[in-house]
């Protein structure tokens, strides 16, 4: 990856993995179910090819989006392919209509999970970096993966080169749900984070 050393890439991977582990713990507390995760796979991809990393631009997904404010600004998008989103809705809001595009309860369930996962992911990142990092209230979209992610990238006025995509399979009460966590740092923010982790330079 342009401008990043192997050590920096490894550090980003490690930090993302720990963040995802903490998110899984939070999910377990929320659902009161055993939650296991597979080892998170962190990739650093270019914004223009992020669709491929999410299983295709036209993959239908439910996504939660928060802006990260504080000492290192960025954007955090959690993406669940629609099938996985249905399983989450069943767990959090049993009996709800499974259509998060139209059903308010289903949307709330996705928003709640987005809130819990992004907060715990960021808390973990904040602990490791000793930076003050806070999420805004999540916004929800149910649509093509490409449409959602490119809109977040466009909002930064920049095709950012460093976009961290972490893929994890969650196993919640025996149901397997694949999910993606995409962290898009604002220009300069990645450097701040890497410096705080002692791998700046």
């Amino acid at each position: 990856m342009k401008n990043l050393t192997d050590m920096q890439v490894d550090t980003i991977r490690e930090v993302s993995n720990i963040g995802m582990g903490n998110a899984a713990t939070a999910l377990s507390q929320l659902t009161n179910q055993a939650v296991h995760i597979t080892v998170p796979q962190a990739m650093i991809v270019e914004a223009t090819s992020v669709g491929g990393a999410l299983g295709g631009e036209q993959q239908e997904v439910a996504a939660s989006y928060v802006q990260v404010v504080g000492q290192a600004r960025g954007h955090l998008v959690l993406v669940f392919p629609l099938e996985g989103a249905h399983k989450i809705i069943e767990l959090i809001a049993p009996g709800a209509n499974l259509d998060p595009q139209n059903d308010e309860m289903a949307r709330s369930a996705i928003q709640e999970i987005g809130n819990i996962l992004s907060s715990s992911f960021l808390r973990s990142l904040a602990d490791m970096t000793q930076l003050n990092l806070l999420p805004t209230v999540p916004a929800i979209a149910v649509d093509f993966a490409g449409s959602i992610v490119t809109s977040v990238v466009a909002n930064m006025y920049e095709i950012t080169e460093h976009l961290v995509v972490v893929h994890t399979d969650f196993d919640i009460a025996g149901k397997r749900v694949g999910g993606y966590c995409i962290f898009i740092p604002e220009p300069g923010a990645l450097r701040t984070i890497l410096n705080s982790l002692g791998v700046g330079g």
Binding site: F144, G146, S147, I148, V149, V152
Partner: protein
């Protein structure tokens, strides 16, 4: 005969038999210019309204409405298209997220993209034939050059012609 993907900030040309495709447009805009007689055409995948917003000093011309429209026009004309025979269609410009609360970021890029592309079409004397823009849903925009068929795909609905 090729399926030509037009990625974010790209401009791509096609000849009869080709299909130009912009996958998963959100706030971005897919703009197609196609010669209705020779079926030579091109598509731009426009990301932002205005190149004065550029942080990078040397951005791709397809990235901004004000540079993408003239560049796309130049390229299709250079490829043999005739200006008076151009079919001009566009899709995209949605607002994918709505935010609540006082910290709500101003996410009006979709509508500003639409506005600026319209303005650029006017300035370049191009008449819009059809559009499917705005709203809060994503779109895939395809142009089958042979058939002069313009297709919009959205989640949860069958594909429709534009």
């Amino acid at each position: 005969m090729a399926l030509i993907r037009v990625g974010m900030a790209e401009i791509k040309l096609g000849t009869p038999g080709d299909t130009l495709q912009a996958l998963g447009l959100g706030s971005c805009i897919g703009l197609a210019l196609v010669d209705r007689v020779s079926h030579v055409g091109g598509m731009a995948h426009i990301m932002l309204p205005d190149s004065t917003l550029a942080r990078n000093s040397n951005p791709l011309p397809g990235k901004f409405a004000d540079t993408a429209v003239p560049s796309l026009l130049d390229e299709v004309l250079a490829a043999g298209a005739v200006r008076t025979r151009l079919v001009v269609k566009m899709a995209g410009g949605a607002e994918m997220f709505r935010f609540a609360g006082k910290d709500a970021p101003k996410l009006a890029i979709g509508s500003r993209n639409i506005e600026h592309v319209h303005e650029q079409l006017n300035q370049n004397n191009l008449k819009l034939s059809a559009e499917d823009v705005g709203g809060s849903h994503g779109r895939t925009f395809e142009v089958e050059l042979n058939e002069l068929r313009f297709v919009i795909k959205v989640v949860g609905k069958p594909p429709s012609g534009l």
